[in-house]
Each structure stands twice: as structure tokens, then as C-alpha cells.
């Protein structure tokens, strides 16, 4: 999209006005500072997704658009999660799980660990499930980003 005030509002407004669902949304400038890249995850039938694509293309601020699920692609999302660890056993178990999931513990206090993790949505969901009896204090997720595999790219 054009990196202009209001561009994000337009996209978000389009989804809410037409009753489409936003599961997650992330946006930031690209290497070209006149352009930002917005990644939105939505759910719907083929007809609905086709309408969403057409309506987004109509927006004057939207320069180019790609449905990543049409090609082989890579999805990544980042998560920071604060977990209660009240004794040595808990601390060891959480550290073990973090190592298995290749996550990093980025903050330590007597009662909590804060863990940073990157991966696709399923990996993040799996980690939360694996934490099981460890009380979760807070979860912050960034929303999914995607990029096509191979030479296919979203650029001007």
C-alpha cells in the first residue's frame, strides 16, 4: 500500500464494513519507504475470498496484492510469552521446552520467565499447549507474515 496516513484504516474499514473476518493483521514499511506491506489473515469460502481480493484492489491506496495461499509459501509469526515458574522443577521444565522449540528466554525474575519464539502459527500454538500446567501470565503475538517460496515475489 502507499505509505500514507489512512491507508491502514481503509483496509480495516473495508473488512468491517463488508463483514469480512480479520484473524490477524500486521503492517510495516518496506525497503521502499513510500510503500508499506500489510499482511492480513482472513477466513472464508472461495467466493468470499475472491470478493475480498477484488474489493481490496479497488482501494486507491492498495498498489499490489497477492494471495499467498495460492502458492507454496513460508509463514512466520513472533510470540513473547510470560510464564510463572515458582520452583526449580518448573524452571527446568520450561527451559527444556524452550530448548526443544528453539525459543529464547529473554527475561528472568524469581517467579517468571519471558520467552521469545518465532515460527509458523502451528508451532506457536503447539508451544502454548506443551506448557500445560505452567500458568501463563501473558501472551503477545505479532500476527502472521508471509513470503512466497522460490522466485515469485510481491514487488512493483
Amino acid at each position: 500500500m502507499e505509505n500514507e496516513a489512512g491507508a491502514l484504516s481503509r483496509v480495516a474499514g473495508l473488512f468491517s464494513a463488508r463483514g469480512y473476518n480479520i484473524e490477524s493483521l500486521t503492517v510495516a514499511p518496506t525497503d521502499d519507504d513510500t510503500l508499506s506491506r500489510l499482511t492480513v489473515v482472513t477466513r472464508g469460502s472461495n467466493e468470499i475470498v475472491e470478493q475480498i481480493i477484488k474489493q481490496l484492489n479497488k482501494l486507491v491506496d492498495v498498489v499490489k496484492l497477492m494471495d499467498l495461499t495460492e502458492h507454496s509459501h513460508i509463514e512466520r509469526e513472533m510470540m513473547m510469552i510470560k510464564v510463572e515458574v515458582e520452583n526449580m522443577e518448573a524452571r527446568q521444565d520450561v527451559k527444556r521446552l524452550s530448548d526443544i522449540f528453539r525459543a529464547n528466554i529473554i527475561d528472568v525474575t524469581p517467579g517468571t520467565y519471558t520467552i521469545e519464539m518465532t515460527g509458523d502459527g502451528q508451532k506457536l500454538d503447539a508451544f502454548i499447549t506443551a506448557l500445560n500446567e505452567h500458568p501463563i501470565v501473558e501472551v503477545v503475538r505479532s500476527g502472521a507474515m508471509g513470503i512466497a517460496r522460490g522466485e515469485k515475489a510481491l514487488h512493483l
Partner: protein, 564 residues
């Protein structure tokens, strides 16, 4: 040369060839009004309510194809304009609406007469801009006109803070505008056109369904040529009336919720539907599950998002209607291909059977004035050549059904949004654009009261509009629905305390007439048409219980009309 933002504004309008703008002043736009006062290339029409300004600009745009221009102030000026802007958005009318805004350093501070205009109008405009630097003003105005008038037309709002109108900069009007994110497709894909023609020429029961897109594209002539070449029946939506001559034998009348029996039955039984510049709106399709069950569909439209939005089509063609039709005509003439003559003959025989239903007949022996008779009389006495605007409701349907339009851009009404109050101000816009033509506003006692203050504007500028008020003392269409579907529980649809419209018209300095007997109808209209420089308000006291037929109730298909 260095100019202020306000001077740049007026110069840009001149560069765009704008002759007339409709507006209402206020604090935030005082510098602009000062600049307008000191130049003579652009004239400003003062209305009495900002909603009237936008509807007037719409009437101007719809009757000419040019872009309408509006100027209003910040805060309540902008919010008063929102109804008209939403109306233009729904009917794809090219408009540029300039709204004043509080000075830049006060934005977001709950300042006097401040609203987030860009935020409020975002869902009902084609695009909008907030000008943050006077250096961007000329560019922004150029882009606004470009976006409003190209592709599928629509309203564009330009919000200009007051300090920008006072700031100075070098004025240079851009020669061209190129936007990387906005490039409407104008030419239809040749392969799609071939595919469409193959399908069309294989039809045994073809049907042409056209809408407002034909008028926006200025494609009345190619449409007429195409239809005559093909020999197929044709119907228009409410927004498309006039794009094909109504008095031609291939025309089946309007289709949809209040369309003719023959038009709706032909749609329902067609095997190939050719949709041109129409969007399969719910007023036309009725129950989508039951819509055109045996038809394969060709859809020509400039907006890809309209294609397969409600109804899945078989051959979509994205492009400007006039371009695509011309390409199709050329293909047809080159290949000399025609529809199967025998199939076409029996299709027309079937259509003639449906025509025998005579669904447009009404009781001509009543002692009460019938609204249909008033519209027919107007048609007769203006030879079908007047510009006709309307408000919304039963009178609008009667106008659409009984005034046969042979030319495009003559029928001006609010279709998509259905805005009551549209009729009178839009008639003003039409009259300004066509000073020597007869402009009639067919309205109802409820609708006319919504923008009645514009009678003052008409007096100020001497607009000889002929207002035909179909007065039944009710909100007619609401009453009809309450009669049919709410067992006659007429909640709030009775117009209490109606003014004496004759006295009201005369209070505004116009001519008023009250007509109560059918035998006086033609005489009154004749007399009104003779008064070439006076606005005449004709208050026809009509049969209060007359309903609009045919009608397709909610959930029904096109073949399930209520006829009487």
C-alpha cells in the same frame, strides 16, 4: 507566481473546466469564498442546506456526464453533506466535494466546528484526501477529479484545513496525473469478447439486461445498435432507463421488484442473459436462489468487484461498456453471424403472450386522480422529452413505469441509496445544466418536505422547475408494505399536518396550483408548462390507496409477481 491556497483552489477549478459549483459558506472556508468572489471563471450557487448542494451537484452530473463540484464548510457543513455523498457513492456519480477543515494545528483537538471528515466519509467515498501542505493542493485536486471521473465514477472528498487556504506557494497545475495504484481497465479482453459472442449467438431465448453503467459510459448509441443488430428483447434497471428508447418494440419495460410482467418473465425464462453495466442488485434479482434458473450469463462491467458478487456469471468482461459494445458490434458485423431465426421468432411469440397481461393497466374510470394518469399526462404534454427527477417511494416507481424515456441522462433519481429529499435539489442541478429545457420533479408529500427549503434557491436563481406533487397524505411506499405485509397496521406512515402546498409555494415567490379532479389534470400541466420562467408547484390530490404493481415480495423469484 505565488498564490494562496484559496486562489490555487479557484485556479484549479478553472483548469478542470468547472463552470459551476454548489455550496454553502462557513468559517473554515471563508478564504476560499473570498477568492471565489474575486474571480469570474467559476460561478457559485448558494443553496439553503448542504444536502441540497450535494444533490444539486448530482443532478448536474447525472444529466450531463460531467463531474459535479460541491463546497461546504467544516463540522456540520461536512456532516450535512454525508447523505448526498453516500447517495453519489451508491449510484456511482462523479463528484468532487470540497470540505473546509479547522486549521492544521487544531485538528484532533475537538476544535469549533471540527469533525473527522476523512474518517466519517471513508466508507462512502471512492477516495478522500486531507491536504496537509499547500504545495500538495494542486496535485490533490487534479487527482481528485481524475479518480472521480474515471473507471467506475464516484464521489471524492477533499478536506482542506483553513490555514492551508491562507498559505502561499508557487502555483503549477500538473499536466498529467499518473497513479500507480489506480489504473481502471477500459478495454475488454478480446478473447473474452469472442467467448461471449459465441455464447450469445447460441441462444434460443436471449435477454439483454442493462443498468446505470450504460449511462455512465455514454453508451446509449452502441447499446441501441447492438440490440437492434441482435434482435433480442431488452430491459433496463431503474438506473438504466433512457439508455434504450422506451417506445421501441424490443423494449420490455423496467425489470425487478416493480418491473413489468413481460420483463420479469423474460428474465426468468431466458437461456442466455447479457448483463451490461448493471450489478444484479437485490431490487432486481428478488430471491437470488430463484434468479434466472436456466440462464448462462455474460456480464460486461467496468468494476471487477461487481462481477460475480451476487450472481456467479459464465463470461465476465471487465471494461468500459461503450468500448466493449463497439468491439462486439464490429465482430458481429465482420462475421455476419446471427441468432437462430426460428428460435428467436418463437421466443418473441412467447413474449407477446406475456405482454397481453397488460400489467400497466389501471382504473381509468375512477373519480379520484390516479398517480399513473398524472405521469402519463406529463409524458404526453412534454412529448417524452423532459428531464425528470424524482424523490423516493411510490411516486418514483410510477414515474419510472409510466414516463417512457427515449434518451439517456433525462431520468434522474436516487436508486442505490433511495434518498428522500433528492428530487427538488437535483432538479435545480439539472436546470442549471439545461437552461432551456423543461425540468420536472415528480415527488410525494412526504419526500418533498425533506429539502423543501431549496424552494428559496429556486427563487434566487429563477429556476422554472415544474414540481408534480403526488399528494396522498401518506408515506406511500411504507403504507403499501404495511398493507401487504403488516396486515394494515399503518405505523407512522400517515402524514399529519401537511402544509397548504399552494400557500407554501407562493410564500417562496412561486406559482402554486391545487388539482383535485381528474378532468383538471391535463389543463394544469399545460398551464404550468406555458409558464416558462416560473417555478410551478402542482399539488395533485391523488387516490390515497393506490398501490404500485407489479410487485415482487421479499423471498420471491422474478416469476412470482403480485399483479393486482
Amino acid at each position: 507566481m505565488e498564490l494562496t491556497g484559496a486562489e490555487i483552489f479557484t485556479r484549479c477549478l478553472k483548469e478542470e473546466g468547472v463552470e459551476l459549483i454548489f455550496g454553502y459558506p462557513g468559517g473554515a472556508v471563508l478564504h476560499i469564498y473570498d477568492a471565489l468572489y474575486q474571480q469570474e471563471d467559476v460561478s457559485h450557487i448558494l443553496v439553503r442546506h448542504e444536502q441540497g448542494a450535494v444533490h444539486a451537484a448530482e443532478g448536474y452530473a447525472k444529466s450531463t456526464g460531467k463531474t459535479g463540484v460541491v463546497l461546504v464548510t467544516s463540522g456540520p457543513g461536512a456532516t450535512n453533506a454525508v447523505t448526498g455523498i453516500a447517495d453519489a457513492y451508491m449510484d456511482s456519480v462523479p463528484l468532487v466535494v470540497f470540505t473546509g477543515q479547522v486549521p492544521s494545528h487544531l485538528i484532533g483537538n475537538d476544535a469549533f466546528q471540527e469533525v473527522d471528515t476523512v474518517g466519517i466519509t471513508r466508507p462512502c467515498v471512492k477516495h478522500n484526501f486531507l491536504v496537509k501542505d499547500v504545495k500538495d493542493l494542486a496535485d490533490t485536486i487534479k487527482k481528485a477529479f481524475y479518480i472521480a471521473s474515471t473507471g467506475r465514477p464516484g464521489p471524492v472528498v477533499v478536506d482542506i484545513p483553513k490555514d492551508i487556504t491562507a498559505a502561499r506557494t508557487e502555483f503549477k497545475y500538473p499536466r498529467n496525473v499518473k497513479m500507480r495504484s489506480y489504473n481502471p481497465t477500459l478495454k475488454g479482453h478480446p478473447r473474452q469478447i469472442k467467448k461471449a459472442l459465441e455464447l450469445i449467438l447460441s441462444a434460443e431465448r436471449p435477454m439483454i439486461y442493462t443498468g446505470g453503467g450504460v449511462i455512465s459510459s455514454g453508451a446509449a448509441k452502441p447499446l441501441t445498435d447492438f440490440t437492434r443488430l441482435l434482435g433480442a428483447p431488452i430491459t433496463n434497471t431503474l438506473m438504466g432507463l433512457g439508455s434504450y428508447p422506451a417506445n421501441d418494440k424490443q423494449f420490455l419495460g423496467m425489470l425487478g421488484m416493480h418491473g413489468t410482467y413481460e420483463a420479469n418473465m423474460s428474465m426468468h425464462h431466458s437461456d442466455v442473459l447479457i448483463a451490461i453495466g448493471a450489478r444484479f442488485d437485490d431490487r432486481v434479482t428478488g430471491n437470488i436462489e430463484k434468479f434466472c434458473p436456466t440462464a448462462r450469463i455474460v456480464h460486461i462491467d467496468i468494476d471487477p468487484a461487481s462481477i460475480s458478487k451476487n450472481v456467479k456469471v459464465d463470461v465476465p468482461i471487465v471494461g468500459d461498456v461503450a468500448n466493449v459494445l463497439k468491439a462486439m458490434i464490429k465482430e458481429m458485423k465482420d462475421s455476419k453471424a446471427k441468432l437462430d431465426a426460428r428460435a428467436l421468432k418463437s421466443w418473441w411469440a412467447q413474449i407477446e403472450e406475456w405482454r397481453k397481461e397488460d400489467c400497466m393497466s389501471y382504473d381509468k374510470d375512477s373519480g379520484l386522480i390516479k398517480p399513473q394518469f398524472v405521469v402519463e399526462s406529463l409524458h404526453k404534454l412534454t412529448k417524452g422529452n423532459a428531464f425528470v427527477t424524482s424523490d423516493v417511494g411510490q411516486h418514483q416507481m410510477f414515474a419510472a413505469q409510466y414516463y417512457g424515456f427515449n434518451k439517456p441522462n433525462r431520468w434522474i433519481n436516487s436508486g442505490g441509496l433511495g434518498t428522500m429529499g433528492f428530487g427538488l435539489p437535483s432538479a435545480m442541478g439539472v436546470q442549471f445544466a439545461h437552461q432551456d429545457e423543461t425540468v420536472a420533479c415528480i415527488t410525494g408529500d412526504s419526500s418533498i418536505q425533506m429539502c423543501i427549503q431549496e424552494l428559496s434557491t429556486c427563487r434566487q436563481y429563477g429556476l422554472p422547475i415544474k414540481i408534480l406533487n403526488l399528494n396522498n397524505g401518506y408515506m406511500g411506499m411504507v403504507r403499501q408494505w404495511q398493507e401487504f405485509f403488516y396486515q394494515g397496521r399503518y405505523a407512522m406512515s400517515y402524514m399529519e399536518s401537511l402544509p397548504d402546498f399552494v400557500a407554501l409555494a407562493e410564500a417562496y415567490g412561486h406559482v402554486g396550483m391545487r388539482i383535485e379532479k381528474p378532468e383538471d389534470v391535463e389543463g394544469a400541466i399545460k398551464e404550468a408548462l406555458k409558464l416558462k420562467d416560473k417555478l410551478v408547484f402542482m399539488d395533485f390530490i391523488i387516490d390515497p390507496e393506490e398501490n404500485v404493481y407489479p410487485m415482487i415480495p421479499a423471498g420471491a423469484g422474478l416469476n412470482e409477481m403480485i399483479l393486482v
